[in-house]
């Protein structure tokens, strides 16, 4: 029997409130700055089978992860799930989707003795073991080198933590207290959510609650289909060279009912950690569809039903065990950006020029010179976004993969990590000129104080910066300039475990977004303002815009 629409609406609103509450609970208790400050995490609620019903704030690239993990857990433990149980998984080949640092924690919710839903969350943990501090290194050739692999496992049995499991998790980390604290933050968040859902399901009854979830997902599908109808139809294709010389290809076919992404014609998986599993690129497709059809509405399993994804087993977009996956996010982001660029010329009102397009994951570690305790900075970086119709691009925002993500204040970085931030300013390098200009990336100087420190980075869009559109200039590259106290400076976009000494400067430079339209069409008043604000030199204004003041 169908519920009355108001009851459906109330239950569905409440799901959103619960997912948000889970998010706050986790943020406030986490021990890794990547979770509590950067908010590299996500929360959500699925139905009994693991289909996504509601997602909390956080980052869009995690929205579509939880359902895939819960489905694996639900299938593996079918019939053995009890109230008070908590499960975990992090292995991308067993439902974990991303990389081993991201542990997904899920808790079943019961109403009248029946499994009706799951609450789940995912967060990036600072160190889960493996060959390098922070567990991420460009040197990894196999996933075994990237840390402790957890298939779907039970970690709490009917409310009672399974001590042996926690012992294993602790022993495998270089930062056992932090890892344990973060896992407990995740458990607490899942419990808070489960308790709330139980109350809602008990109040309305299990059947009414489940019917409201079904209705919500059907609604999600209807919204996507409506949006899809309004988009241009046809098959679009793009081939693009990457920083490493490999060539990626995508074909996207839109009909009134389907959004088909074909990524089969792509290179084989690589020996390093820059690979994605199929679930990973699926998330890229989900994000682009959501942005095109209904960016403001709720995202749930129904929203993504129109997607058909074609991949080739053993390719970088459908990598197979036991390949390394640490930097999966860069390849996933490349797939997403490929789809964006493929469609942008055909949907100008939805899609602008390219953005700096990299997570710019930056890992800096060592021993805090004042406390003697080890620290690890695990930070994505902000950069410039592309210009869109009638609008200059935003400056200094995290990549499309991140959302409610915060950079680390210099004052906190200096206190907590014992580094000195000499500057954190907009990148005024040329790039991104156009009728509308790309937004600015940033320049950040981390001066290290620690003995025996290290730095690891993995940036893409370093050789080929953010793409301009419709005559707009390309943006500028993402890279690091390393300025040691002794020896010559060097520039790179990928480095693993480079040793640092006190006084060395790690200068992070993130790119400007792509421009849109012919620079000659940019209004003189705007050029004058950019010059006045020190974003543009008069010489460059003359060269690119033909502007003489």
């Amino acid at each position: 029997m169908a519920n009355d629409p108001i009851t459906n609406e109330i239950i569905q609103n409440s799901l959103q409130a619960v997912a948000d509450e889970m998010f706050v609970a986790m943020q406030k208790t986490a021990m890794s700055s990547i979770i509590y400050e950067v908010l590299d995490m996500g929360t959500g609620i699925t139905d009994a089978g693991g289909e996504l019903a509601s997602s909390g704030a956080g980052i869009p690239a995690f929205v579509g992860v939880l359902d895939k993990a819960v489905k694996m857990i639900a299938a593996k433990f079918a019939g053995e799930v009890a109230p008070g149980d908590v499960f975990a998984v992090n292995d991308p080949f067993h439902g974990g989707v991303t990389h081993l640092n991201d542990i997904i924690v899920a808790m079943p919710v019961f109403a009248s003795g029946k499994l009706v839903a799951w609450t789940a969350n995912i967060a990036h943990n600072s160190d889960v073991g493996g060959m390098a501090p922070g567990s991420l290194t460009g040197e990894a050739k196999e996933i075994f080198q990237e840390g402790l692999r957890l298939p779907p496992i039970r970690i709490i049995d009917a409310g009672k933590p399974i001590a042996s499991v926690f012992d294993i998790i602790r022993l495998n980390s270089r930062m056992p207290e932090v890892l344990e604290g973060d896992v407990w933050a995740a458990i607490s968040s899942a419990r808070v959510g489960a308790r709330r859902i139980e109350e809602i399901a008990a109040k309305y009854g299990a059947d009414v609650f489940e019917a409201a979830l079904v209705d919500f997902m059907d609604f999600g599908e209807a919204v996507s289909l409506k949006g899809l109808k309004a988009l241009p139809k046809g098959t679009f294709e793009l081939t693009e060279e990457q920083d490493d010389g490999s060539v990626f290809n995508v074909k996207i076919t839109l009909t009134d009912e389907t959004f088909t992404v074909d990524l089969r014609d792509n290179p084989d998986q690589v020996a390093g950690p820059i690979n994605s599993c199929r679930d990973g690129v699926m998330i890229g497709a989900q994000m682009i569809l959501k942005s095109l059809t209904d960016p403001r509405g709720p995202a749930n399993g129904g929203s993504f039903r129109p997607i058909e994804l074609l991949t080739r087993e053993g390719s970088v977009f459908d990598a197979q065990e036991p390949v390394a996956m640490g930097f999966y996010y860069e390849i996933e982001l490349r797939a997403y950006d490929l789809m964006w660029r493929c469609l942008a010329p055909h949907m100008p009102e939805h899609l602008g020029a390219g953005h700096f397009g990299s997570v710019c994951g930056t890992f800096i570690g060592g021993i805090h010179p004042d406390t003697g305790r080890p620290y690890t900075i695990v930070e994505p970086q902000v950069g410039g976004w592309g210009a869109a119709q009638g609008k200059d691009g935003n400056s200094a925002i995290f990549s499309a993969f991140h959302g409610e993500t915060y950079n680390c204040p210099a004052e906190i970085n200096e206190a907590r990590n014992g580094v000195i931030i000499d500057r954190m300013e907009l990148n005024c390098a040329p790039g991104g000129e156009g009728r509308e200009t790309g937004g600015r990336g940033v320049v950040i100087d981390y001066r290290t104080r620690a003995e025996d420190g290290y730095v690891t980075v993995g940036y893409t869009r370093s050789r080929f910066p953010a793409w301009g559109l419709d005559g707009g200039r390309d943006g500028s590259p993402n890279y690091v300039r390393f300025i040691p106290q002794e020896g010559a400076p060097q520039e790179f976009a990928f480095v693993s475990g480079l040793k640092t000494r006190p006084g060395d400067v790690i200068r992070v430079i993130t790119g400007n977004g792509g421009g849109l339209g012919d620079p000659c069409e940019r209004p003189a008043t705007k050029i004058a303002e950019d010059i006045f604000d020190g974003l543009l030199t008069p010489e460059h204004a003359k060269d690119v815009y033909g502007y003489d003041g």
């Binding site: 109330i10 406030k28 210099a410």
Partner: protein
């Protein structure tokens, strides 16, 4: 006859309100008068003088005046401040624009980052560095300041904000820049970030300083004119200004840092709820204020409001907003009030708010051309509001317009008007319940331990339904619920909240350092009060520590009784573990760190003493004025007793279903509820817990 006259004036967006409490110092009897006049932008002080005249209050007779104003928040949201120049540490001029890099509306690729209040050309740098311990690591170089001042002057800058790295730990560099700035430019309006906040996070502190500078000349001009206008009319009493931290402060202090008034509107009501709770022996209160456009709620524990410095304007699911790091009462606000518009989306889903019909055209039933159904229209349609006594009889309800507006909603949903009206009330209630859960359950508090105190024009209409849903102990509607905020102002203390980032491991040997930090803040507070002629003996302190497990970031605030000694450390640590577990369900064996402290310094400034009346034995039927059918949404339609709120006396008691009407409020009493009026005239509604949404 000796009497004391206390006056609260409140400048809102549309109206300037006056509430006058006249207390006979012999009998203790109190008379309350109210008046309302138009707000008079840009000369807001004129509206205050007008409303005094309208209320028949002679300025010269006033002993104590508390003043609340939306001047600061309006100047911010309407962008009517002055041109600001910002001076930062070398390498950090762009902090204000980089902000935190977040994009809450994350699927929206058309997101627009909030623009900084100071353009890049007017953000300038000075060399010099402090570290996080407040030690100088590079000397301050002011040689470029004259050039900066010249540029600022040439560009028409009217106020300057100074925000340097780690000034929370040591403000010496900021103070030096300010001193040199004032020497070079004696009449400039200038503020240092350390004057607003002593907490870390440079973007938040810089933005706070910038926004303070932005409104400072506007607010100071306004306060000065108010002061002189009142003086001309003969006022020689004490004038205090309502603050966002639920206290009042002197006009002098407020004129220096006016940004502290930013959220003063709701603060007085929540303070009133805390005071009311203490008065009636219910110190744990969920306070709910429903107005025309929004509903705001806050939690009060042990008679204490929660004050935080994590306040943002224009921040929601679609925008990152702007932070203002000043002490603000912890509240959740949602776009649901009496004027909230009900609408149906393309997928036949009903929503209520956040758009509001406002005061004009207002709800359809105002008959002023409003075509959209609002919560008020639904309440009228269901008989919850008396159509023959709409707005206290001041407005004739246009039921035809209300019906037509509801018909639009009903048609879009394929249901009838009654169902549509019930749906609107249920959705509005659900939105408010979720907000109330955010301040209670979400922070580890069980609503069943709380009393719900509801006020504002629409609070009483929905309070019982919400209270039932949450399972609160009971609902209390204060006497004069529609002017309750003014009452709250009369109950406020002169109060300042000091927050300071101060790092220390909570380990043996730490007590002396922590105690010294507290003592320093208290000495500073005492000196500040003394400079304003408040003797040290009148100042009371409350101490709180902000603690976390090592490696965490977010803190839990724990009260600290008495001096911090080595002996007290164990108890403080245990208090933290307990508070943490309450909020987050678990505790850890990890080391505990102190990250900061919070000191409340307060002094009483002649607050109102509520007067008790004897409980009478007159029957409630004396106050009954009729019966009518009322639709209680999920509880069905009932024949309800209608009471005249002005005739209910202390000691009267009756049962629901009922509706209580007085000129300012309508209180909906559900079936199974029991109502009693206490000695102070507050209505206590004892609930039968039932499903309401």
């Amino acid at each position: 006859m000796t009497k004391t006259i206390r006056v609260a004036t409140d400048v809102g967006g549309t109206f300037t309100d006056l509430v006058c409490f006249e207390t006979d110092s012999v009998t203790g009897e109190s008379r309350v008068t109210t008046a309302k006049s138009d707000t008079t932008p840009p000369n807001f002080e004129q509206g205050v003088l007008n409303v005094l005249e309208k209320g028949g209050v002679a300025a010269g007779d006033i002993d104590f005046m508390a003043h609340g104003t939306t001047v600061v928040i309006n100047a911010l949201t309407e962008r009517k401040g002055v041109k600001v120049g910002l001076i930062t540490t070398l390498g950090f001029r762009d902090t204000l624009e980089i902000a935190r890099g977040n994009r809450p509306d994350f699927f929206n690729l058309d997101y627009e980052k909030p623009k900084p209040f100071v353009r890049r050309a007017l953000r300038r740098e000075v060399p010099g560095r402090m570290n996080y311990r407040g030690e100088e690591t590079a000397a301050l170089d002011l040689s470029g300041l004259a050039g900066i001042v010249a540029d600022f002057q040439a560009e028409g800058v009217e106020a300057v904000a100074v925000s340097l790295l780690h000034s929370y730990a040591n403000p010496a560099h900021e103070e030096a820049v300010l001193a040199e700035l004032r020497r070079l430019w004696p009449d400039v309006s200038a503020v240092g970030s350390h004057q607003i906040s002593r907490e870390w996070r440079e973007y938040e502190r810089s933005n706070s300083a910038v926004l303070s500078a932005y409104v400072q000349p506007v607010a100071e001009r306004y306060l000065r004119r108010l002061e002189s206008g009142l003086a001309e009319d003969g006022f020689d009493g004490q004038l205090y200004v309502m603050q966002s931290n639920c206290g009042v402060d002197s006009l002098e202090a407020t004129a220096r840092i006016p940004i502290t008034m930013v959220e003063s509107g709701p603060a007085s009501g929540f303070w009133g709820a805390a005071e009311l709770g203490k008065l009636i022996g219910a110190p744990d209160v969920l306070a709910l204020d429903i107005g025309g456009t929004t509903a705001k709620c806050s939690l009060i524990k042990d008679g204490e409001v929660t004050i935080m410095t994590d306040y943002w304007i224009e921040r929601d699911r679609t925008s990152a907003g702007y932070p203002i790091m000043v002490p603000v009462v912890d509240l959740v606000e949602i776009g649901n009030g009496g004027g909230s518009i009900a609408w149906v989306d393309d997928f036949s889903k009903l929503h209520v708010g956040p758009q509001s019909a406002g005061a004009s055209p207002g709800p359809a039933a105002y008959g002023r051309g409003g075509r959209d159904a609002t919560t008020t229209d639904a309440n009228l349609w269901l008989g919850r509001i008396n159509r023959d006594y709409f707005c206290g009889g001041a407005v004739e309800a246009d039921m035809e317009a209300a019906g037509a507006a509801l018909q639009k909603v009903a048609d879009a949903l394929g249901i009838d008007r009654d169902e549509a009206a019930r749906g609107i009330v249920r959705i509005a209630n659900n939105n408010m319940v979720n907000a109330l859960k955010l301040v209670s359950l979400n922070r580890g508090h069980d609503p069943r331990d709380f009393v719900l105190v509801a006020f504002g024009g629409g609070g009483a209409m929905h309070a019982v339904a919400l209270g039932q849903e949450l399972g609160v102990k009971k609902v209390v509607i204060p006497t004069g619920a529609s002017v309750f905020s003014a009452w709250g102002m009369m109950m406020s203390d002169l109060r300042r909240d000091y927050f300071l980032t101060a790092l220390a491991d909570l380990a043996p040997g730490a007590s002396a350092g922590i105690e010294a930090q507290f003592a320093a803040v208290e000495a500073q507070a005492t000196a500040q009060f003394e400079a304003e002629n408040v003797s040290p003996g009148k100042v009371q302190f409350k101490r709180f520590g902000k603690f976390r497990y090592q490696n965490q970031e977010h803190t839990v605030e724990v009260p600290i009784e008495g001096a911090v000694t080595e002996a007290a450390l164990a108890q403080i640590t245990e208090d933290f573990h307990a508070a943490y577990q309450k909020e987050y369900t678990y505790r850890l064996a990890a080391p505990v760190e102190m990250v900061g402290l919070h000191v409340i310094a307060s002094a009483e400034v002649g607050k109102l003493t509520p007067v008790e009346q004897p409980l009478g034995d007159a029957p409630a039927s004396d106050a009954m004025k009729g019966r009518r059918k009322v639709d209680y949404a999920v509880e069905g339609i009932h024949e309800a007793d209608i009471y005249d709120g002005e005739k209910i006396r202390p000691g009267m008691s009756f049962a629901g279903p009922a509706v209580i009407e007085d000129p300012g409020t309508t209180i909906v009493i559900h079936p199974g509820n029991r109502v009693e009026m206490d000695r102070w005239g507050n209505l206590h509604i004892i609930l039968k817990t039932a499903e309401v949404a």
